[in-house]
């Protein structure tokens, strides 16, 4: 059970591969560490480290203009950085697939994470994103598959939200 519960990032990676994703933009994030490693190790995927998340919204638009599928990995705080750039995806109906790890909800130690974390869902919905939340390892693949379909099949913004409960709390003292 433990092994299975911990391997959801690998299954998420396989879902991206099945979905034909060729470019992955990311701002480094502990919750996505395993998925980022898998993307970096894959010869068919171009991993693009970003300085800020809205770069990834523009990257995904450019990828689609050129006929490729992209995904954007970020932490919940990154959603706030993206809001104006979402206009690009909405106005032009660019597919935008986002995988978002949550902070500021379950057992959060750092209060500075709470203001943005607490409004991720409504902000994404205001931006007309389809939002699929995974609370447990078993929900991850289903949520990601629906998001892949919505993003690339429907040319929409689609977000998978990975709950903090799924990721586990950040260890502050070692």
């Amino acid at each position: 059970m433990t092994t299975r519960a911990n391997d959801w990032p690998d299954r998420l990676f396989e879902t991206l591969k099945r979905g034909g994703v060729r470019q992955v933009g990311y701002v480094p994030d502990a919750g996505h560490a395993r998925l980022i490693d898998r993307c970096r190790a894959d010869s068919e995927i171009r991993d693009v480290a970003l300085t800020t998340e809205e770069e990834g919204v523009a990257l995904a638009a450019g990828a689609w203009l050129g006929g490729e599928r992209a995904a954007l990995l970020m932490q919940s705080s990154g959603v706030g950085n993206c809001i104006n750039m979402f206009s690009l995806a909405r106005t032009c109906r660019f597919p935008l697939l986002m995988l978002i790890t949550m902070r500021g909800e379950w057992e959060e130690f750092n209060p500075w994470q709470v203001p943005m974390g607490s409004i991720v869902d409504p902000v994404l919905k205001l931006c007309e994103a389809e939002v699929y939340r995974a609370h447990t390892p078993e929900e991850v693949v289903g949520a990601a598959e629906r998001a892949v379909q919505q993003a690339f099949g429907g040319e929409r913004i689609a977000a998978v939200i990975l709950s903090q409960q799924l990721i586990g709390k950040k260890v502050w003292t070692k």
Partner: protein, 191 residues
């Protein structure tokens, strides 16, 4: 001496070739590109300020056999300075980022931009690891840039010093979905 923006754009796009894909940044560079002649392989930005270079990066990675030119203004580039760092570590050989720098925000009333007060975009691009960074201040340097654009072999950054002027607006198509679809169709991507 500063170059005239419409003439500079026309020089860069003359005999552009079927494989040159253009991302004009929002505002004056989009009007300049439209004035040089509309083309289905132009994806004009009417928004997404700060995003032009990154759209170019995603496109360059997806279309390795085509040349990609991002031509944008200094204000637009300043909003996305981080993207130069991102491009600096990716360095696709088929991407050129060209900044028309007039030192002002022309669309909003000619307020001074940071470049007028000492921020040097060439230094920034060079410090980010972009190998070829060109300072274009006269017709000869512009002609050289146009030649290099025809045969891109490494990521190129160029600052083109242009005069702060406001030629009559030439407005391109502004339906984003239509711009996207005609661009993809023009380069042979199936829906």
């Amino acid at each position: 001496m500063r170059l005239e923006r419409r003439a500079a754009m026309a020089t860069l796009l003359a005999n552009r070739g079927d494989d040159l894909l253009l991302i004009p940044g929002l505002g004056s560079t989009a009007w300049d590109a439209a004035a040089a002649g509309d083309d289905d392989r132009n994806f004009y930005l009417w928004g997404a300020m700060g995003g032009a270079a990154m759209i170019g990066l995603g496109l360059a990675l997806a279309q390795a056999k085509r040349r990609i030119a991002v031509i944008t203004g200094d204000g637009e580039m300043l909003m996305g300075l981080g993207s130069l760092a991102t491009i600096g570590i990716q360095r696709p050989p088929n991407l050129a980022v060209i900044v028309f720098d007039n030192g002002v925000y022309g669309e909003t009333g000619m307020q001074p931009s940071h470049t007028q007060s000492g921020v040097d975009l060439i230094d920034v691009a060079g410090a980010c690891g972009i190998g070829t960074c060109l300072d274009v201040r006269d017709e000869g340097a512009l002609a050289d840039l146009a030649r290099r654009l025809k045969h891109l072999s490494e990521t190129l950054f160029a600052r083109v010093l242009i005069a702060a002027e406001e030629p009559p607006r030439v407005l391109p198509l502004r339906d984003g979905v239509a711009l996207k679809e005609r661009f993809r169709t023009a380069i042979g991507i199936k829906p």
